[in-house]
Amino acid sequence: MVELRGVRHRYDGRLVLDLDHFAVPAGAMVAVVGHNGAGKSTLLRLLSLLEVPTEGAVLWDGVPVPRRAPTALRRRVTLVEQRPVLLRGSVRDNLGFGLRLRGLERTVVKRAVETVAEQFGLTALLERRRHELSDGDVQRVAVARALAVRPDVLLLDEPTSSADRAASGALYRALADQQATQTERPIAICIASHQLEDAYRWADDIRALAEGRLSPVTPENLFRVELPAGTGETKHARVGTIDIAVTTDRTGPVVLAVPPTDIFVSREPLSSSARNVLAGRVTRIAAHRAGGGSGVAVTADVGVELVAVVTAEAARELALAPDVAVVFSFKASAVRVF
C-alpha cells in the first residue's frame, strides 16, 4: 500500500529518520513503538504525504509519489496527530468535514456522520463544540473524523494518550471492527504508541524505532548507556541497578537492544554460556500477536524491566504468571548496539 524506501529525513541538518524500507500493507494493523523522540511522529507525517522526505522516496502501490502529492492521492490517507485539534464548529461539523469537501450530498454526509458517531460512542456529543469536550473526547472525535472519510490508510499518533483503559480498549475495538467490516477495500492502520500492552494486544505487526532507525526489539528492552573504554571483547554497561554484558568494539554513549526472542526464560538459574543471567519477578503477561505468531510477551522486573517472548506452550509449562520468580538469560553477543 504505502511504503518508504531509502528515506533519510533531516530537520535543520539533524538526521531524525533513517529507514531503508518501511511498508504498511493493505489491511494490516501495524504498531510503531519507541521512546519519545525516536522518530515515530516524523514517520507518520511522511507516510501521510504531508511532509516530503529529505532523501528517498514514498511509494504508493509501488509508484513513487511526486513531491506535491495530488489531492486525490492525499485523500486516501489520513493522519490523527498526537494532540489533535478540532476545527471550528460542532462535533457533527468536524465529523462531516472531510466528507463535505469530497462533494458528497448532505444526506450521505449526515448518514455517514451518524454511523461513525455511533461506532465511536459520540452520538450524545454531536452538537457539542470543542470547548465543551474533554481531551479524551477530542481524541475520539479526531479518530472518528479521520475514519469517516474511509481512507485506505489510517495513521494514528498516540491515539489513546488521553484515554483511560476502558476508553482505550473501546477505541481499538472500534478500529478492529472497522477493519473487519471494510472488506471490499481493506484499511491499513499504522499506530505510533508507547503503550506496549495495547500494541501487543491489537497490532499484528510491531516495529520499534530507536534514534530514527528500525530496531529489532521493543523499547522496553532498549537502554541508553555509556560503554566504558577498553579493548576487551566483552564490556559491561550499567543499566539501573544491574550490569549488562555486551560484545562490542564500541565505546561511549550507545543504545543497547536486547531482542525479546533471544532471552531464555527459566524458573531457576541455568548453567549455560549466557553472560547475562538476571533474576526477578514477572510483572505482566500478554498475548503477543506480532508477526502473526501466537507467542506470549513476559515482562519481568530483573532490576530493570525486560520483555521476553516465549511460545504459549513454554509459558504454560513454566506456569508463568504475575509475581512468579523467573530468571532471564541471554548471551552478551545477542545484545545489539546502536
Binding site: S48, L50, T71, L79, V85, L87, R88, F97, A146
Partner: protein, 231 residues
C-alpha cells in the same frame, strides 16, 4: 472655546437638515474607502497568508519590506503616485489624476501593507495543526486557506477594520491625488482641512463628526458579523 460649541451646534443643524453637500462628501468618502478596502484586502489577505505559510527564498526580506511599508508617510506615497499618474507619468494615459479613482489607488497602496502584514501575523497565530488537519482530511490549497482563515476570523476582521480605518482617515494622498475638488474629489478629511483653514469650524466639525460616525458604523457592523460567526 465658544467656537467649538458653536461648531457642534452648527454640525448638528447641518446633519439634521440633511445638507446635500455634506452628505455628498460623506457618500464619496464611503465609496472610496469601501472600494479601496476591498481591493487592498483582496490582495493583502492572500498575500499575508502566502507569507505566513510558505517557505521560500527571500521570505524574511519580503516580510521586512511589508512591515516597513506600514510606516510609509502618506504624503510621500501621494507624491510618488502623483508622478506616476501625472500627464507626463507612465500611467498618465489613464487620466486618473484629480479623480476619485486616483484617491482609491493611493488608499490601496497605503492599506495594502496593513492588510498583508497584519494578516500574516494573524495566520501565524493560528495553531499549525489546523492547517495540517485540513490537509490530511483532503482539503486542497484553497479549502485549507479557507479553513485557516475561519480560525483566524477575529484577527482578520481586525485587519479589515484597520485597513478601512487607514483609508477613511487618510488625507495626504487624497489631497495630492484628488485635488480636493468640490463635488468631485472632496472627501471628508480634505473637506475638514479646507473648512477649518477657512475658519468655517461648524462645517469642519460636522464633517469630522460624520467621519467618526462612519468609522463607528463600520466597526459595529464588523463586530456584529463576528458575533454571528462565532463558535
Amino acid at each position: 472655546m465658544d467656537f467649538l460649541a458653536e461648531g457642534f451646534r452648527r454640525a448638528l443643524a447641518l446633519l439634521l437638515s440633511g445638507d446635500a453637500e455634506v452628505f455628498g462628501i460623506a457618500l464619496l468618502t464611503l465609496k472610496i474607502a469601501v472600494i479601496a478596502t476591498i481591493v487592498a484586502c483582496g490582495i493583502g489577505l492572500p498575500l499575508g497568508y502566502f507569507l505566513a505559510t510558505r517557505r521560500f527564498w527571500g521570505r524574511r526580506a519580503a516580510l521586512t519590506a511589508v512591515n516597513t511599508a506600514l510606516a510609509f508617510p502618506t504624503v510621500v506615497v501621494g507624491l510618488l503616485l502623483y508622478g506616476l499618474l501625472s500627464r507626463r507619468g507612465p500611467l498618465g494615459g489613464l487620466g486618473w489624476l484629480y479623480t476619485w479613482q486616483a484617491i482609491v489607488v493611493g488608499d490601496v497602496v497605503l492599506a495594502l501593507p496593513i492588510a498583508a502584514a497584519l494578516s500574516a501575523a494573524a495566520v501565524q497565530g493560528v495553531d499549525p495543526r489546523v492547517r495540517r488537519t485540513a490537509e490530511t482530511l483532503g482539503a486542497g490549497r484553497w479549502l485549507t486557506a479557507w479553513t485557516v482563515a475561519r480560525e483566524a476570523r477575529f484577527a482578520l476582521a481586525a485587519v479589515i477594520t484597520a485597513a478601512f480605518g487607514q483609508v477613511v482617515a487618510e488625507i495626504g494622498a487624497a489631497m495630492m491625488l484628488g485635488g480636493n475638488i468640490r463635488g468631485s474629489t472632496r472627501t471628508l478629511t480634505t473637506a475638514v482641512a479646507l473648512y477649518s483653514s477657512q475658519g468655517d469650524f461648524g462645517l469642519a466639525v460636522a464633517l469630522g463628526l460624520l467621519l467618526i460616525v462612519i468609522a463607528l458604523a463600520v466597526n459595529v457592523t464588523l463586530q456584529v458579523l463576528q458575533g454571528k460567526g462565532s463558535g
